[in-house]
């Protein structure tokens, strides 16, 4: 079943068309990987899914992205609510320079969620979900920036989970981490996908193959415009790609 539905989405930065006519369905409770060479618009597309492009003044998005049959780009659409439903983890771990507790509590606080559930419970549950509760339970007041990078990235994931999103977007979430921490993040994604729909951008082909259920291959055509070349189940994309350019890319012939 489709969770988010991108229809003919194009993006321009100023005059420059960087994504052309992207149509793909993000499947519910599955991991979708976006792969492709640098500059082909993966991050741009990911940011379209929770309208983080809004804050880039020169960015213009056309087409539709449906969430529950509603176009998130429709006039008057509640962007704050969208960001709560579609959360985001960034490439570099970026906890706020505050305590571990305050980091996780940030979202629930600004959204006023703690009126329904105790903040302590939300924080504990979120940290448990990302598997660092045991490591930090006795030092919730500690500055989050003193954690290891891997812990910081999982804290960022907990910060997103705390607002109870439906979809989690991750832009190369492991590229700043060492191999062991990378594997932990990947394991975590496999656990989380039981409850969440996940879209991940990755440069790492093995990672896409290991972790994702669906793979979308983007490529820059004419050296300029990002296009979706092929989209399908990860097993098929990696074993029987249909487009010659996909074959070239996953066999490492360019990119």
């Amino acid at each position: 079943m489709s969770r988010m539905d991108s229809r003919n989405v194009s993006v321009t930065y100023g005059e420059k068309l960087v994504l052309d006519d992207i149509t793909l369905e993000v499947k519910e409770r599955q991991i979708t990987a976006l792969i492709g060479p640098s500059g082909c618009g993966k991050s741009t597309f990911l940011r379209c899914l929770n309208r983080m492009n809004d804050s880039i003044k020169i960015a213009r998005v056309t087409g539709q992205i449906l969430l529950d049959d509603e176009d998130i780009y429709a006039a008057g659409y509640d962007v704050v609510r969208l960001r709560q439903r579609v959360g985001m983890v960034f490439q570099r771990p970026n906890p706020f320079p505050q305590s571990i507790y305050d980091n996780v509590a940030f979202g629930p606080r600004v959204l006023g969620m703690h009126r329904d559930a105790s903040l302590d419970d939300i924080v504990e549950q979120s940290l448990q979900d990302v598997g660092i509760w045991r490591e930090v339970r006795d030092s919730l007041k500690r500055d989050a920036l003193t954690l290891s990078l891997g812990q910081q990235q999982r804290l960022c994931l907990a910060r997103v989970i705390a607002v109870k999103p439906e979809v989690i977007l991750m832009d190369e979430p492991a590229s700043a981490l060492d191999p062991i921490e990378t594997l932990r993040i990947e394991d975590l994604m496999r656990e989380l996908v039981d409850d969440y729909t996940i879209v991940i951008v990755t440069h790492n082909m093995q990672q896409a193959a290991r972790v994702s259920d669906w793979t979308a291959f983007f490529l820059t055509l004419d050296g300029q415009v990002g296009t979706l070349i092929e989209y399908g189940e990860t097993g098929r994309i990696f074993t029987q790609p249909q487009d010659q350019r996909t074959i070239d890319y996953i066999t490492g012939r360019f990119g």
Binding site: N50, M52, S55, V80, R81, R83, Q84, G87, M88, F90, R92, N94, F96, P97, Q98, F106, G107, R109, V110, L111, R142, D143, L145, T146, R159, V160, V163
Partner: protein, 281 residues
């Protein structure tokens, strides 16, 4: 000439230059402490001046300077920090905001006596506040604003853009990100700027000359529309306008003003190092 020798000479030269800067300051401070300390007494700090200021204390001048600093802060802090938040977080980069920034930079270089005359014209005469604490505080506030705005804006801009983006991605509004993350991060810088600005206000004579300062007023102000004595102006008066003034009173007054200004400076330094230390565990 060997590299090492060149380096040694370079360091020696730089060291000498620092001495040239520091030694006169130390001499001035030392001289004031040496000459002013004997004049200090409980009576000097807490009594009204008597006998045409040639005896008694400087209590009203101390109170006046405290009140003026407070009044300046009450006006300049909200306006200055607010303007800085607007410029750094909301204003688009266009001709209008560039003009504002240019104006702020230029305001900072206007001689203080011009602020004094401006305050006289606007607050004392036009708005009919009279020579009063209100007029003086407003005048000092205007003089202080450029410092507060530019240091606060700098502090706000030093906070990584990323935090604002993350806040937004979690459903925070623009303002929530500013209030909960950006402002707390920028706070040490803002506080430093505020204190530096207020320091300047506390020590200035020219802006209060026509707007608030009383030559000799041996009682405390009763309201914001009262005149008051103030330390810098009092120092000017007893040093130049009153014949037969005991030197010790002049030095004592200078010492009190210096102590006030330096202790505010110390507070600024402590706040900064406190916040810096909190970063490291």
């Amino acid at each position: 000439m060997s590299q090492q020798l060149a380096q040694k000479l370079g360091f020696a030269f730089l060291g000498l230059m620092s001495l040239v800067v520091i030694v006169p300051i130390l001499l001035v401070v030392g001289a004031i402490i040496y000459a002013g300390f004997p004049a200090l007494s409980w009576e000097f700090l807490s009594a009204m001046p008597r006998e045409g200021m040639r005896a008694g204390g400087i209590f009203p001048a101390i109170v006046g300077t405290l009140l003026l600093t407070l009044g300046t802060g009450l006006v300049a802090i909200p306006v200055g920090v607010g303007a800085a938040v607007y410029l750094s977080e909301y204003a688009r980069d266009n001709l209008f905001t560039r003009a504002i920034r240019l104006a702020i930079v230029n305001l900072a270089s206007i001689p203080s006596v011009v602020y004094g005359l401006f305050g006289l014209g606007l607050f004392v005469l036009l708005l009919q506040f009279g020579t009063s604490i209100l007029a003086g505080s407003l005048t000092l506030a205007i003089m202080t604003l450029p410092v507060i705005i530019s240091t606060s804006e700098e502090a706000l801009r030093a906070v990584p853009m990323e935090y604002r983006t993350v806040s937004e991605s979690l459903g925070g509004t623009h303002w929530q990100g500013i209030r909960r993350i950006v402002l707390p991060q920028a706070l040490p810088g803002i506080i430093t700027g505020v204190i530096l600005g207020l320091l300047r206000a506390a020590g200035e004579t020219a802006p209060i000359l026509f707007t608030v300062a009383a030559f000799f007023l041996p009682r405390l102000p009763q309201s914001a529309f009262d005149q008051t004595m103030a330390l810098p102006y009092h120092l000017y008066v007893i040093s130049t306008q009153v014949p037969g003034m005991p030197l010790s009173i002049q030095h004592g007054t200078a010492l009190v003003l210096l102590a006030f200004v330096l202790s505010m400076n110390l507070v600024a330094t402590l706040i900064r190092s406190y916040f810096r230390r909190r970063r490291e565990w």
